[in-house]
Subunit: 575 residues, 2 copies
Amino acid sequence: MTKLFRVNMTTKEAKIEELPQKYVGLAGRALTSSFVLDEVEPKCHPLGPNNKLIFAPGLLGGTNCANSGRLSVGSKSPLTGGIKESNSGGTAAQKLAKMGIAGVIVEGMPADDKFYVIKVTVDGAVLEEAPAEIMGKGNYEAIRVLSEKYGAKVGIMIIGPAGEMKLTSANISVKDPEGNIRSAGRGGLGAVMGSKKVKAIVIDDTGAKGVPIANPEAFKAAAKRFAKGLIEHPVTGQGLPGFGTNVLVNILNEAGGLPTKNFRAGRNEWANNISGETMSATIEARGGKVSHGCHAGCVIRCSQHYHDKEGKYLTSGFEYETIWALGANACINDLDVIAECDRLMDDIGVDSIETSVTIGVAMEAGIIPWGDATAAVDLVKQIGQGTPLGRIIGSGAAFTGQAFGVTRVPVVKKQAIPAYDPRAVKGVGLTYATTPMGADHTAGYAVATNILKVGGFVDPLEKGGQVELSRNLQIATAAVDSTGLCLFVAFCILDNADAFQAIIDMLNAQYSLALTADDVTELGKTVLRAERKFNELAGFTKADDRLPEFFKEECPPHNTTWDFTEEEVDEVFNF
Amino acid sequence: MTKLFRVNMTTKEAKIEELPQKYVGLAGRALTSSFVLDEVEPKCHPLGPNNKLIFAPGLLGGTNCANSGRLSVGSKSPLTGGIKESNSGGTAAQKLAKMGIAGVIVEGMPADDKFYVIKVTVDGAVLEEAPAEIMGKGNYEAIRVLSEKYGAKVGIMIIGPAGEMKLTSANISVKDPEGNIRSAGRGGLGAVMGSKKVKAIVIDDTGAKGVPIANPEAFKAAAKRFAKGLIEHPVTGQGLPGFGTNVLVNILNEAGGLPTKNFRAGRNEWANNISGETMSATIEARGGKVSHGCHAGCVIRCSQHYHDKEGKYLTSGFEYETIWALGANACINDLDVIAECDRLMDDIGVDSIETSVTIGVAMEAGIIPWGDATAAVDLVKQIGQGTPLGRIIGSGAAFTGQAFGVTRVPVVKKQAIPAYDPRAVKGVGLTYATTPMGADHTAGYAVATNILKVGGFVDPLEKGGQVELSRNLQIATAAVDSTGLCLFVAFCILDNADAFQAIIDMLNAQYSLALTADDVTELGKTVLRAERKFNELAGFTKADDRLPEFFKEECPPHNTTWDFTEEEVDEVFNF
């Protein structure tokens, strides 16, 4: 991966650049965040011509390493106003890596009103006017049309109607191996793509030479150890393949950390109706797929095909956080309706976490009643229709709170807080507060050690050990996100030192290096420093590293509060 | 003024406190900003229970000094997220001062859903349930009902439907001598009042002892010199009484600084149709009042009664900035429709600057066509109706820009930029950028010296001298806003040293002090330091002291840009 494909939407010129020396050894999140810090004016309008968008596979992308097909998308977020790396599965990253492309950059903004498709081949990128028939259409249909036009095997990164409208919860969807939808969900990067009038990026990897491996035998041996580790770990080998990420509903409910009714409680009576166990049983009964990978080479296979009552495919990538937000937090006690919303959100192209949490805020505002499934579906549909109410909901939780004067709005840096109550899972609250990404569980998943007892145990209800935990996980995550590995490999490597070593061994074998664990840590720190620096230049301060005031209220059943002092919170980033 | 009336809406308790020693000598903006810094947690939600609202007359409030009846309202702004002093005429400030009340504080938040009226008498404040018949009603009708209930002479501070809905452009309206409406317009403080479920504050000053004056003869003599200065100055004695603030339309159009079509140009062909000259001729022809004071003792009398075609009162306080925003910036070439919108905005209770600039943003978004008067009136009406589109518009320009993906949004710190293009009036751009209030011409009105040649002359198209000008005007303004004097006295005192000395002489005579001009400057600096400190604690940085990117575009007719470096901008606050 030695090329940058740079597409200027102002001039409509595309060129191929050598990866600058300063970026050699960086990929995935390390590359996207360095690039955004270097090339994006921190105070620019995120939807203006001075923002840029970069798509990058990780260091191990395109290899045979298990679970190495994740894509990093970087930009200044129109949702948070800060730096963003949004991460997705699908087939794009592996194709880019095999084509030797370290990153595809989209910059500038056309003066005209047309939307474009960027077609990426080994020869370069070309701009074509987007087919009229896909404009305003849902992602499922648009991906079908583009796959017909450009070939069934092309990779596709695309925005839905929400991205066309530049709504700040718009995501970027990535075609998965079956032509279904994975998402670079968080931070509204679909709006950035929409502002640049890029409807889709189509990747035709015909003629790709594949990824060179300096020491293929060593790589193969390490890859085998790594895959074995994943398969043998109870979370990545059993829990996730068996029940998807939604295995967490019953676990978090039991732990008292399943936020219910817009974070009023951590436990509810109906959780099992929406649990992973119920979901998998439903899928089996209807002939769906309980386990499925979002990209080739995935051995965890936490995705699934969820079918409707008629046995027809409805959605995949049906995640715990979405199911939680609609099921527990918005009190919609019906997995089928939640699945319908999930499909709609994927189709319209909005972050399913942001949008589902926003529906809870709309219920808080009295716009629709708690638990009203029909009304929730209608709200999601209105986003796609671009009604004024749809635009409010599609602009996210903080925005909707402001529109309706609601103060109980679970956001940090204007991004919706996900599925783990920080009063019952205290470590993850530190991650929400301090990550440069805005509230994001994946930025430092303390739930692993607080609740799942992976990587040791830190009592979720106590403060002790949490600062170090969140810090170390954020550093590790920034490194993992740079490899192209799925973050879920962390469950395994936190418990299995050899599996962790296997990753280092693969990197060394591929690039002919002699990295140690310390280098990996240093990479993570470097990424986080770059991200913090960007945010500082954009105007962020410690005042932005805070949870909403209402987390000082007690949360049943444990009746705990989120009680870190500001000084303790500020200790997370002490490097 | 030695009392603070403190009303806790959580406990429904009201008490009278002695003004703490640290606040003795502070009033108006000096008191409100000190209080907000001391008592409001900077990171609190502005619409949550931890924000507070304070109403304060100025140091000269309640005296016979000309133009001393202005009211300061302080709080954390839900529009900007920073500190706010919003300033209004009307009868409230003089009544409070005469009752010996330095400030009325509203804090906490009721658990129930009822709205309240706070009745303030010399004996204290009491809470009464708001009459059902005024809930959701416009301010004109509500003021009429409350005046009937509580007596024609009571002072009233009230929120309209927008404040009840907690929309972030909601203002606080203040009854004027004729029962019409003046506004503490900027920063959304009506939403704070709404969040505390206070529909109105009624001030019955029966039994008020008046303001003690230590040396009445000296005060009288100084007051006479001061009033004479105001009457003799061409701006305060002729321009403003003759044509209102709207005298500025032709002046700014001539100067090329009248922002037109959402700040695309500084001059247009139809300006005279909406000018002060046209307005005054229309008023005279229809039997309205060309000149009128917003509070007793005003000798400038820049307000007016604008009548409709049938000769019926339509609006007053019909300001240049509102007329500019709808007339030039939104291209509505019809003074009658603009007056209708002005009345509607007053009645619904939204800031007419924020809302009118927002209508330009809605036109930019293509929601309604440029210059479409009927559609603009409909948008304003929708605010009062609380439709989703109305809530978007009623949440201000930055919010509306986000809802519709518009990047050409004239705001600083999320507050709409008013009626002077910073590329043609460069000094005022520094004020927009740096004032802690968010874009606000009144915070340091460099237009005076750039365009009106008051207080000397600094070339509006050049950078030289502007940093000092904006700094000195911001300091002077913070002091003037603390006296209760109308800011327009500045036109006179910038040119007339004796009139300025007369203010100091009045303060010394009233309070038995020996203040000098240096003390006045120091007061201004102290106020600004407190405000900057609050904003810093709330998370503001220099990155917030910036104009939108599009002011780097050339602005016809002068084809100048706003070209200050960041270092130059940051020099404004060098104290």
